[in-house]
């Protein structure tokens, strides 16, 4: 039995090696593995062998069958590599895949939301055309206050109510809108477009995105603010980032703080990204001004909390190494594809 199998395998292998196309392979398959093939005949005859030989013969015949099947598959693969026998070039580019992309600002905003969500911040939005009252008055910036110079404002030409409608200059009015509607605890972030009456250049836009953060409760402290910001810059820019804050002024926070992080490009050694200082200004923040709380009906002796605000383009520029803020609004596919 084994001898016949060996002979059969030898001749089958030899024939397979010269089979050069699908038809020849099919012919070979019928001859050696088909219903009328010698091997099939041998397998059928196993049953007629003496009981003690059956097992061994059966195993041998089945092994031979498997071997021939594998040989056939290998030969098929060889042949398919190319009609002329040439090897397939795996360095050929793939066929075009038509998958689109999200805008880098959308991606950055999502990342900011994702980072802050575990701390309980919910994302809310508010109107881009806003009343002066929300954009300024309720944020402790009365009419004719010199602090208004901090925000160059686009005004809407509205005959019925002159001077009242404007394009919001920051996302902060949504602070007041949220607090007017619900009682603490409050923990929200506000992503959205804001507008400044400002000539455009590589680092200034008349339209840009901000994210505002607000946390109000009975015991939210400035240390909580600092901890939140440290957590944020590390989640966004890597665990080695250091945060430092320094005194500043915003009409709607007291105390106020400007936050900087150690430069992610040079780790604080000084490089062009951080202007050689090792530190990068990242956002403005502070403890919500008691007047802002009182004006929305919160008792400032009971409730306190923090607010912060950052420019999304700035974060994206740092993350992606973009040097001109206007790139985000040109929507050049080469830019969008690069940052997909």
């Amino acid at each position: 039995m084994q001898e016949r199998l060996d002979a059969l395998l030898t001749s089958a292998r030899a024939e397979l090696a010269v089979a050069a196309d699908d038809a020849a392979l099919e012919q070979w398959r019928v001859t050696h593995l088909g219903r009328r093939s010698e091997l099939t005949g041998l397998l059928r005859s196993v049953g007629s062998l003496p009981r003690e030989e059956r097992r061994e013969a059966g195993q041998a015949a089945n092994a031979a069958r498997r071997e021939l099947e594998e040989a056939l598959e290998t030969r098929q693969t060889e042949l398919r590599r190319g009609a002329d026998g040439a090897q397939l070039d795996v360095t050929m580019p793939g066929y075009p895949v038509r998958l689109g992309s999200l805008h880098p600002l959308t991606r950055t905003l999502r990342e900011i939301r994702r980072v802050l969500a575990p701390l309980g911040f919910r994302a809310v939005s508010g109107p881009e055309v806003e009343w002066d009252r929300y954009n300024f008055e309720l944020l402790n910036i009365p009419a004719d206050h010199p602090a208004r110079d901090m925000w160059d404002t686009f005004h809407i030409d509205d005959k019925a109510r002159p001077g009242e409608l404007l394009l919001r200059t920051h996302t902060s009015p949504v602070q007041a809108r949220v607090m007017e509607q619900i009682q603490p605890p409050v923990r929200v972030i506000v992503p959205g477009k804001v507008y400044r009456y400002e000539d455009r250049d590589a680092s200034h836009e008349a339209e840009f995105m901000q994210v505002e953060g607000l946390a109000i409760d009975k015991h939210i402290t400035m240390a909580d603010l600092r901890g939140t910001l440290t957590y944020f810059v590390r989640a966004m820019f890597g665990p080695d980032r250091e945060l430092r804050i320094r005194a500043s002024y915003f009409p709607f926070t007291e105390p106020s703080a400007e936050a900087e992080m150690s430069c992610h490009a040079c780790n604080g050694d000084g490089c062009p990204v951080c202007g050689g200082t090792g530190w990068i200004e990242i956002l403005g923040s502070g403890m919500v001004h008691p007047k802002v709380l009182a004006d929305v009906g919160y008792d400032p002796d009971v409730y306190q909390g923090f607010a912060f605000g950052m420019g999304v383009e700035r974060i994206a520029m740092l993350k992606y190494g973009v040097t001109d803020i206007r790139s985000f609004y040109r929507n050049d596919l080469r830019f969008l594809r690069q940052l997909r």
Binding site: S125, E128, V188
Partner: protein
């Protein structure tokens, strides 16, 4: 605000380096934006002395000074005349480097010996602009006579200047003394106040000056001092240097002295030529109808009734806090001067300065709110300076009107409030130390501190203000990192709809690149969305008038088109207009993002020939009477003609069904099954007729899509067929049924039958499809269109549609016979109802 470092050191006794001082002040909230080091670029520039001045033989407008450089005498050619023999000047010999005064950008240029009108010049007498000290290029810089001859100029001038970026809440910091108080508190030194002691008794008033304040709300205090025997001339070099370093141009003694006091103490002063003030009277009131004033800049101004002015017995002599009058200006012949030191209402000054576009160093300070206590101190200091520089003999205080003295109440601060707000403990000694170093008055009562602000700190009015003072003086380094604890809030109002994210993901998955575009646009850009002849409005003009639109609506739109024009593409609505646009290219808020997106398509077409699939998902702005505008988030997509298909260079051409595929997927993913919405013909001038469709659900328009009208495409300079898709996503949300629900399919094998029919071309696919589904019930599982054919083999006016039908029963395997029977029912129904014929 520019503060010469040497001045700051003089008032504080600080001996630290300029960098250290800059860092500590920045951290305490006084941000140093830049440190200017005058002299850091000075190279070989020395103090020289003009030995003599010879006339230029060939040019009357030039002269030939000979300069002693300390080691040699050099003759140069000079065009300035503001110096004489014996003056010490800044001399740059040939080879030195100077700022080019004629360059737009700061450029250093090496000075070379040159021949000017036949005479060789081997150096130059420098102006302040060439030295990089100021922008003043009128005349050369004449130094103090004590400047060391032959020594580097930096020894005579130079020094660092700190440039502060100051915040709106600290008027006191708009002065060298104010910064000095902060610096002294940070370094633990004593402020050396330049304000002289009260010597009021020594020079009593020589004559009465009558003061009258009409409204103390507009002018809290007005103090005045007379200066006699005035000598108007050039101030001494030390004063001019400091003024220049601080960015103020020296003029003449009296004006320089008032400016010096403004820089030093923060109180703007004004000097009147007393002899030109009529009636010995000074009043402060708002202007009366018809009053006019010629201001210092020579402009004859009509005064509006809200303008606060200074008047004499007969009328206005100055715009309070903003600009003086020409008639009362101090001149070379002035003998007696009245110095004004007043506290004006910040709002009034701010409004006037803004209205007249006259914002000055003085108005900037008044706007922030100055303390009335400062007026007399500033006068005292100014009189002292005038006497010191020999410019006159002053009275300490001639007259003072302060109708309603104010005395701010102390702020009560519980000690534990500090830790409660900051999240870190401060010990009481530290708190007291911080506050008293800033000259706050302290009174401790049990666990409470009563804090009285010094008069210059009117910004501190509440406990949180005091806490900030402590925190920033101790340093924010003290604050640790903790995370907020406590209860998490419920759903917030205005919460961002996560489905917006999903819609973006779907579009990106369908091959579209997301764009973020400007909300500001022009009417012209939106007007280009309608063929130009249609509205009969000139190009780049507003969007046409009501009548024109009524005609367009009547003649160029069907019902779907009008529904589109009502909301998703509301080109005939009045857009929200900016009162102060940056340019006419962006003077309105967009009604639709389509114009901007077609421009974006065009811009990308310049560098790409396929796969131009773009979308934008940002609000449009629809005005509402008496309310904020509606800001619906409309989705706008645009598509170029060719898309990749298959192998590397294969492309397909975009046709209407391509866009429909996008619409169906987007709607389905938004919870609106594709077969729920109806697609109908759309007539709208933005879209090509016969190649566009409107999508509606229960009569409400959800979306419109199709080929962009050829003329519109041309208006956007598009050189190929382009497609657009507009989706009212808020309406889709309202129509959607929520999450999709599961329905089971048959576990038994399906019987497949193809069906090719020929029908009248007027019969829509939707009708055929509907008839198939109805007739096939209950065994028909699905009908999938796989081909459409019109042409030779079909009679004209007809078309062939081919479907793959799949039959199955829920509980058994269908026999061929059962499947055939069901299929035949479908065929008969098509024949009877739609006049279809089977195609052989």
């Amino acid at each position: 605000m520019r503060v010469p470092f040497e001045w700051l050191c003089e008032l504080t006794g600080i001996e630290a380096s300029v960098d250290d001082v800059a860092t500590r002040l920045t951290n305490a909230g006084f941000e140093v934006g830049a440190i200017h080091r005058a002299g850091e670029h000075w190279d070989r520039i020395v103090v020289g002395e003009v030995v003599r001045i010879d006339p230029h033989p060939n040019a009357d407008r030039l002269n030939l000074p000979t300069v002693n450089t300390g080691s040699e005498e050099i003759q140069v050619v000079c065009g300035a005349w503001n110096f004489e023999a014996g003056d010490r000047i800044a001399f740059a010999p040939a080879g030195a480097r100077l700022w080019d005064p004629y360059a737009d950008e700061p450029v250093l240029k090496e000075l070379k010996p040159t021949r000017i009108r036949g005479v060789v010049s081997r150096g130059m007498l420098c102006s302040t602009k060439e030295l990089g000290i100021s922008d003043d290029h009128e005349g050369i810089l004449v130094l103090d006579s004590g400047a060391p001859l032959g020594r580097p100029l930096a020894e005579a001038l130079g020094g660092e200047v700190l440039e502060f970026e100051l915040k709106a809440n600290r008027p006191d910091a708009l002065s060298v003394l104010g910064i000095a108080r902060e610096a002294a508190a940070l370094y633990g030194t004593q402020v050396r106040s330049p304000i002289p002691d009260d010597r009021a008794g020594e020079h009593g008033p020589s004559q009465p000056v009558q003061l009258q304040i009409d409204d103390p709300a507009l002018c809290a205090r007005y103090s005045a001092a007379l200066v006699h025997d005035v000598k108007v001339g050039e101030s001494p070099a030390w004063m001019r240097d400091r003024l220049e370093q601080a960015g103020v141009r020296p003029i003449t003694t009296i004006v320089d002295a008032t400016n010096y006091v403004m820089l030093e103490l923060g109180q703007p002063l004004h000097a009147f030529d007393w002899e030109t003030v009529r009636g010995g009277f000074i009043g402060v009131r708002t202007a009366r109808p018809g009053e006019r004033l010629v201001t210092l800049d020579g402009q004859d101004r009509e005064l509006t009734p809200e303008t606060l002015c200074i008047v004499d017995a007969e009328g206005p002599v100055a715009l309070a806090g903003v600009m003086g009058g020409l008639d009362t200006e101090v001149t070379d012949t002035t003998a007696t001067v009245l110095l004004e030191s007043a506290t004006f209402d910040p709002v009034s000054i701010r409004r006037t300065a803004h209205r007249l576009n006259l914002r000055s160093e003085a108005s900037r300070r008044f706007e922030k709110g100055l303390p009335p206590e400062l007026t007399v101190l500033a006068l005292r200091r100014c009189v002292q300076l005038i006497e010191e520089i020999g410019a006159g003999r002053g009275e300490i205080l001639t007259a003072d009107a302060y109708p309603e003295p104010s005395d701010p109440a102390p702020v009560a601060l519980a000690f534990d409030r500090i830790e409660r707000l900051m999240g870190v403990a401060y010990d009481r000694g530290e708190v007291r130390q911080a506050l008293s170093s800033l000259e706050f008055g302290l009174d401790e009562v049990c666990d409470e501190l009563r804090v009285t602000s010094p008069f210059w700190r009117r910004d501190v009015t509440a406990p949180a203000d005091v806490v900030e003072e402590v925190a920033r003086l101790v340093g924010y380094e003290r604050i640790p990192d903790t995370l907020p604890t406590g209860q998490v809030m419920d759903l917030a109002p205005g919460e961002i709809d996560e489905r917006d994210d999903e819609a973006r993901d779907v579009m990106a998955g369908l091959g579209f690149a997301e764009c973020v575009t400007y909300a500001l646009t022009s009417e012209a850009r939106m007007a280009r969305l309608v063929p130009p002849d249609l509205l009969d409005a000139p190009p780049d003009s507003p969007l046409g008038d009501e009548d024109a639109w009524a005609t367009v609506r009547e003649s160029a739109m069907d019902g779907a088109g009008r529904a589109l024009a009502d909301r998703l593409l509301p080109l005939d609505r009045e857009p929200l207009r900016l009162r102060n646009p940056l340019s006419m290219e962006e003077n309105v808020l967009r009604l639709t993002g389509l114009g901007t997106m077609l421009e974006t398509l065009r811009a990308n077409r310049r560098h790409a020939d396929r796969d131009l699939l773009l979308f934008d998902f940002q609000p449009s702005f629809l005005a509402r009477d008496g309310d904020l505008p509606e800001e619906p988030n409309f989705l706008t997509a645009v598509i170029g003609e060719r898309v990749s298909a298959g192998r590397w260079n294969e492309t397909g051409t975009v046709e209407l069904p391509f866009v429909r595929g996008v619409v169906d997927e987007l709607l389905a993913r938004s919870g609106l099954p594709a077969d729920e919405a109806s697609h109908d013909d759309l007539q709208h001038p933005t879209f090509a007729s016969g190649a566009s469709a409107a999508v509606a659900y229960r009569g409400r328009l959800l979306a419109a899509y199709g080929e962009v009208d050829a003329e519109v495409a041309e208006a956007f300079d598009l050189d190929e067929r382009s497609w657009a898709l507009l989706v009212d996503m808020p309406a889709v949300r309202e129509a959607s049924a929520g999450p999709p629900s599961f329905s089971a399919w048959s576990e038994y094998p399906s019987a497949l039958r193809d069906l090719a029919i020929v029908v009248d071309a007027e019969v829509s696919q939707a009708e055929v499809n509907d008839a198939i589904l109805r007739a096939g019930r209950p065994l028909l599982q699905s009908a999938r269109l796989f081909d459409e054919y019109r042409g030779e083999q079909i009679p004209p006016g007809k078309r062939s549609l081919a479907y793959a039908l799949s039959y199955a029963a829920p509980d058994r395997t269908l026999t061929d016979k059962q499947a055939d029977r069901a299929h035949n029912r479908v065929v008969r129904a098509l024949q009877h109802r739609l006049g279809a014929e089977l195609r052989g």
